[in-house]
Symmetry: C5
């Protein structure tokens, strides 16, 4: 079949087998062939026809919460059951695996989150890509920004889709990885203000935020550190599904992942450092306060002793009747206090 | 011999050699051949016949505390003495080793535990698998959940056993690894509540639980980190006993192990982080209390000094006879206290 | 074309196509051919001619903030769009990548910084080099010292430029890496003085400086650790653009990078060590002050007790009328204080 | 020469060259040939004859403190001077090295120790094995348990010796490595009791023991971490002196070493964790005590202030003559104290 | 030219070209040929003759502070400018690099140090070796012990020099590495005494020494960790300048370096451990002192309260006129104090 006939052929197939049941709400799809024809929302039979024809670029986006859409994975695309299982499990590890005739790539991206009180409570979700010779199947739970944005891009620039399924996957995954940069910027800003908050303002809420941010950093690293290996494989390992020219594009994403990981590692160490500094400063302040307390106690001591003595009810108290007894004792007590302070300072106790 | 005749052949052998002694309580066994015949509780001679025939799928499950059952390992299956020693030692390290004609795989799984007070006191035990061309021997101490669950699965779906001994081993080991996920969920829940307990409720029991959980995490990691290498070998190294198709299944377990290890690593760091934050907060609170103490002491100081002076028993005390002496002194003392507090605050001592 | 004719040929080309618009303010350029001819500020057409001729050594330095200059990258040199994107993004990771016909090297160097209050607030910027067979294109934002210094060097010693584009790149990158050494010297000096400040002078500002310096060290390491890999590739991987003789020169830079990284790693550990020591010393001092406070409180105790008792207003007070009551009580109180101190010391409480 | 004649031949040689000087007290030796002949305490000439014949299995055990015995290494066995130097230096690193005609293996084992006060003060010593085609030379300082135990084993089971020098070395080294397990058990027990001691009993001696145990763990790790590489080489690297069958036995030791190293690593982290928890608990207790102190001080404050005021000697004191003045003031002071406590609690200062 | 004629030939050359200027004070040299002739202090022309002849073993030791001596490197030996630059830069990283016709080895050794107050203030310096086919050039700043000691060795045992330049380099480098062992012994001794100082004597100067020693350990590690790679290369990589027999000798040094690195790593961890223990003990002591303080304050409380009340000047004071009022109040106050202490202990506050 001549490639430019594909869309038309599919349309015809579509006409023949079309019925409303075959339109699956959880599976958006579009087909670009080498002419400028674009067709969206294909029926399962149409998809099957494209996959068999091996021509054009078919993109199917599947919401894994829709059972009917999920069935397409096994019934239309005949993916390996283990691969499908990985795509459906929201806890799957990020990975790249080659099966016969397709490869599966799972990346972790930022989920749309409801506005919570804690700005560092960011949720991440899996985005699965199945890449075949002439098709890309993306699978995820709920609306995912990278997919929506790439749809927008190919609406404006269908050339991208015509460059092949691998380039299309690059576009989706690139968006998925770039979604982390705004968070890095937010973390950078947090780090920049941190020094001032800890050392100048001595902001006590900083402690809890350091904890939250470190938690975020650790959780991001948990998903992004394995992506390093994944994109290293995509960039370097020869594959029949990825041409060397396309791998150059994935090298670009690999670079972004390395940059994000470097940044996370630096943040982690910086936060540990800050926590240690904070603890030390807390101790410093405690020392200062305790020193003040000791000065107060030391100054009190002669008054407690001397005033206590002369406050006792005896008939015979020294100097009791002397005119200047009071003033002498005042001088004695102040003098004793001063001597004590000097002594403690000399002994480096204060 | 034609494969479908195996079970019948074994039955005949069994009839001939059967005596009660050959039924070993610590060794459960079952044999699936390519027809739908299933035979359980084979005698040693029957097992020997199956091993020699090289046909069907034989699974023998051995309780290593039963001496007679253990003898099967050497006398029926002729495993290498070092391999048997590894299977019998409850302290053996998780490992995969190939010997001539079989491979030994030791994994660590969760033991059935008596209900203890400490929910983080989880015990792990070894589960050993010997995989041959057409047989799987599992060995363990006491009842082990993965074995029981797989037995249930092949009762319902004998196809699994017919897929070969390697797929049977996959099923057992998969259950053994999946046994960790409920614990991860429990740890996740603990982590989620931890922030609130440490920062809002300032829950002092948290310290001990952090300690217990960290201990659990470290002990799990001790057994699971080497499993990473074990399953990497199972997945990637060519072996006559594992077809490439079967290795795809072990790649799945490898992935789970990686995921568990990532999670444990993150928990470990998060717990260290929490411990540091907790310590810092304890110090913070100490500082606050000490500051309150210093304020009290500072406010007391002028009263100790001035009231002490005027409380002394002299005949001639300044202002003694003046009408407003008491009120003046009260004002003086309050004023001095206020000045002291201002001074200390100005010097940033409080 | 005979190589020595290149500059003349280009001049002629230049004469033909010259118009003022082709002089781009953000792109300085110079051309050395194998004779001693030097030509600066070439027009785009002249550059194109040199690149096509494959002779002489062309260096173009581009300010990435000048749009017209940036256009040269794609329109004259036809670099890959991803490579140009990397050069323009100030956040790009340091890297070395080979494309068809050229390689791109991004290193991180010290930016010219406005004098800030914090001497450890050092900013780093990217410097991108595109190396072709007979040309070097450097790209950066704003004025960069390594480029300026290398320009000065080739003014004085044009031989360097005639040694080829790779040696020219070596000169630029060498300056870029050497820019770190003054900072290392500064850090070394800081480290040397630190021990004295922390242990003898007990300088409280040290805490904040330790924090700042550690931050600087971590941020330098973030950019310099990946340069290790970059220069390892430049030194060891065979490339058509770098002869083995030239790689020896890059081995030299690789060595500098290793040295800087070793130093940073040591500083990082030393600073952690210092922070721990500092914290311990703060605690030590707190212990001493608290001990002094306890001594004061203990000495006060008998006076509070005994003087308090005898200060009460009862009609019948023991010893009230005895001549030596006062002195006896004084002796009793001092004696009690001394006994208490001895007791506490004996119990090792003080 | 026919192998079975070896012992007889050696005996004859021995008869010829025998004189008392050739009996070396620091060198015990035994020779097993393929018949059941066993000969012990060979003279140097006899040893030389065995080595030259290349038949039988000769084991020589040398006390490196006996000069004459040490001479055997160079004069009878002609080992490389560097290998001999390594055997004699008690500080040598554990290692495996192949020389021409023999290999040297140095492992670290537990020394017989005098009973010391500190149960965690365990000394380790080197045990050197020279393995040749048909001989094993073990060298060590003083009595070493692994050698003695293996001697006992081959007395009871001479088959082991007849299995060849490599299997003999396996037996010795296996004992040397197994000597660590009782210490691991002891450490395990210590760890188990630690949680209770730190959290329930708040046992202050725990601190010192944690320190000692960590020191032991670090020192064991220092010698055992390199043994990992040593046994990995013994297990995997092809060698003319070790058959593949024998290497299976060393794989077993390799496994033990891995297990010991895993355990040590876990202990190290667990001890760090405990130390941090302990420090945090110490701080916690300090906070509690300080809070109690603050309560006491706060309750005192109104009495110091009010009682101080009314204790001053003025002629005109408010309420002085009023009947209920005393009780009013008592109520006022108690009320003020209660208010203060409430205020501080409200401000979260207590 | 026949080898045995070399020294004579050189002497003749020397006679011809000799003038006083050619005797360079900063360059000591000696030439051993295969006969027993030894010639020292060769002129530059003589050296050039030896290098060209390729026979005998020439050792030239150069003081890099002497300009004339440094010129020999380029003018006589024609080393690569980058190699010479590395030799002259006192900050060069330890390294091994092969150039055409020679290799350069830079190791770090202990400098002769003036006696300083701080016994842990050890300075290290670079020692550079250029190894050619028949010559060794050592370069360093100032007097270096390894060179002097090796000179002494070849004076007593010229055989060593005749074994070739590589063996000569081994001798020099061996001394350079062995210079670290006395420092390790000193550190070992420090570690042994540390436990007692920290736990029994509670020696406060220990803190500063721990800091100094850790600093020393980190600085040694900074130079010695890269030597691991350097000697691994020397031992394993095939080289035309090093025979396999000679490499066995360098394997020995490699082993020493590994041992030193292991020890440094263990010291580093042990010191961190000690610092943590020390901090915990400081906190422990603070807790004890604060507890004592709280006991004192608690015992004071009833006296402050009750004595304060009865010390007020009212006309009507309860029990004022009663005979046993004083004793009753004494009992009341002591009883209250005891009750308070019991209460606080019961609440676990003390």
């Amino acid at each position: 079949m001549h490639p430019t006939d594909l869309a038309r052929h599919v349309s015809r197939t579509w006409t023949r087998s079309h019925n409303l049941d075959s339109m699956i709400p959880g599976a958006w799809s579009c087909l670009h062939d080498s002419t400028e024809n674009v067709k969206t929302n294909l029926s399962p039979d149409e998809m099957r026809a494209v996959v068999e024809s091996g021509q054009g670029t078919l993109w199917v986006d599947i919401d894994i919460r829709d059972e009917q859409a999920v069935k397409l994975l096994s019934e239309v695309f005949h993916f390996h059951p283990l691969a499908i299982e990985d795509a459906l499990n929201p806890q799957s590890r990020v990975k790249i695996e080659e099966y016969k005739g397709f490869l599966i790539l799972i990346v972790r991206t930022i989920a749309f989150v409801e506005q919570t009180e804690d700005p560092y409570d960011i949720e991440t979700v899996n985005l699965t890509c199945f890449l075949g010779k002439n098709f890309l199947v993306t699978a995820h739970g709920g609306q995912t920004s990278p997919v929506d944005q790439t749809r927008g891009v190919i609406d404006r620039n269908p050339e991208l889709a015509r460059a092949g399924a691998a380039r299309l996957m690059h576009a989706v995954v690139d968006e998925a990885v770039n979604a982390y940069f705004p968070i890095l910027d937010q973390l950078d800003e947090f780090m920049d203000g941190l020094e001032d908050r800890v050392f100048n303002a001595f902001d006590k809420t900083a402690l809890r935020e350091i904890f939250s941010v470190k938690r975020l950093v650790l959780s991001l690293r948990r998903h992004l550190a394995p992506e390093r290996d994944v994109f290293s494989v995509l960039t370097n390992r020869p594959s029949t599904l990825l041409t060397v020219d396309t791998q150059v594009y994935f090298r670009d994403i690999y670079d972004h992942i390395l940059r994000i990981n470097d940044a996370l590692e630096t943040y982690r160490e910086l936060l540990s450092n800050t926590l240690d500094s904070y603890l030390t400063q807390v101790s410093n302040r405690l020392g200062t306060v305790t020193k003040a307390l000791s000065v107060v106690a030391t100054v009190s001591l002669p008054f407690v002793v001397v005033s206590g003595m002369w406050g006792m009810n005896f008939e015979y108290i020294p100097l009791h009747g002397w005119r200047h007894g009071f003033w002498l004792m005042l001088a004695v007590q102040i003098g004793l206090g001063a001597l004590l302070l000097l002594y403690l300072r000399w002994r480096k106790l204060l």
